[in-house]
Symmetry: C2
Subunit: 187 residues, 2 copies
DNA sequence: CGCGCGATTGAGTAATTTCAAATCTAGTGG
DNA sequence: CCACTAGATTTGAAATTACTCAATCGCGCG
């Protein structure tokens, strides 16, 4: 198992070698190709994922057949349809690779064992969840208070790397504007 | 100290009397009047709040002087400008009473002691944070994929009680729609 | 009674979407 | 290496949605 996950957890709570070995046994590693689905809307969600490398999109397909990008997920991020994951219900969203991607998977059972057996990890996940919540709230603020132009600038400032990695169509979907509008903003 | 908080925590992790007494000592109770501020944009955020009774709005004032409602907070909810709270920085949002409100306050120091000393409470907050994150994501989906009409219906379905308790102007701000537009939807 | 806040209505305007067509680009197989 | 194709981007014009501004209405409360 590579070192990304350990480095990532260490940023919040240092782990001993033994602890890390123990923790590792709860995860397994998987590799996916571009366009592969990790989660399909309507199916059950067995894992949450720690992303070692690559890039994914978390999308919601609305009743008009339009794809809304809820979130991009990249290196060192945790992603899943958490609602479906925690409640063992069917996914409302899909999680799909934009690039070839390597992840560590964590089943709900293992997640629960982990936080029960290692209080440190409960704190770790708590901190991650808090930042996720805060990030979602910030995104809401920009969706509510900015026009297309402003949202574009904000995204450019926050994730400049995305502009190299993904087609503009996807950025438009993330911002909640049509690709034509996005295109017209860029002069 | 009244029983709301204990009942609320018990829904997730049962507490013994001793545990609850211990925990209680970390909180203090406060009462506010309609229009009082618990948090003011630009000032430091010393507490997060458990709401015993009443109703509040968490708002962001954008650069055009418009007030965006990020969230309503009611009985049994936890609320704060969590970003400023956790990072000890200045509030980006205000938290203000819509009705007279009673809360329990929790300082950051006490929060940290609590999760360090009572692993149960780390799990409790983890679960709360997860649901907060999920709720924020659901709101994003509706902001992105629905038009004014759809957002209105959604809100009506999810929080019918709000329609009795708050002026339509505030609902409009929550939905990201002008009050005139909201008014025109209701026939 | 009259004030003030909230809700409504109308008319004109601005922003964004939709539909359609043209252009550009990167990757594939021959 | 070239031609071809699918996907991505750009552009134009019309249609739609929601916004702004302004005026009016309604109601509860002092």
């Amino acid at each position: 198992m590579n070192k990304n996950l350990r480095r990532h957890i260490n940023q919040i709570t240092p782990l001993t070698d033994e602890e890390y070995t123990f923790l590792s046994s709860y995860f397994s590693e998987e590799a996916y190709k571009k366009k592969d689905f990790l989660i399909r809307q309507g199916e059950h969600v067995n894992y949450c994922y720690f992303i070692v490398s690559g890039l994914l999109k978390l999308v919601y397909n609305d009743e008009n057949g339009k794809e809304q990008i809820i979130s991009f997920a990249m290196e060192d991020w945790w992603e899943s349809d958490f609602s479906a994951y925690f409640t063992k219900s069917k996914a409302k969203m899909s999680l799909q690779c934009i690039e070839d991607t390597r992840v560590y998977t964590l089943s709900l059972k293992n997640y629960q064992k982990l936080i029960a057996e290692m209080p440190k990890m409960a704190c770790f996940f708590l901190e991650k969840s808090n930042s996720g919540h805060i990030a979602a709230q910030n995104r809401m603020i920009s969706l509510l208070s900015l026009d297309a132009q402003g949202k574009y600038q904000e995204l450019l400032k926050q994730y400049p790397s995305l502009f190299q990695r993904v087609p503009k169509t996807l950025l438009a979907s993330y911002l909640g504007v049509s690709r034509e509008t996005l295109s017209r903003l860029q002069h």
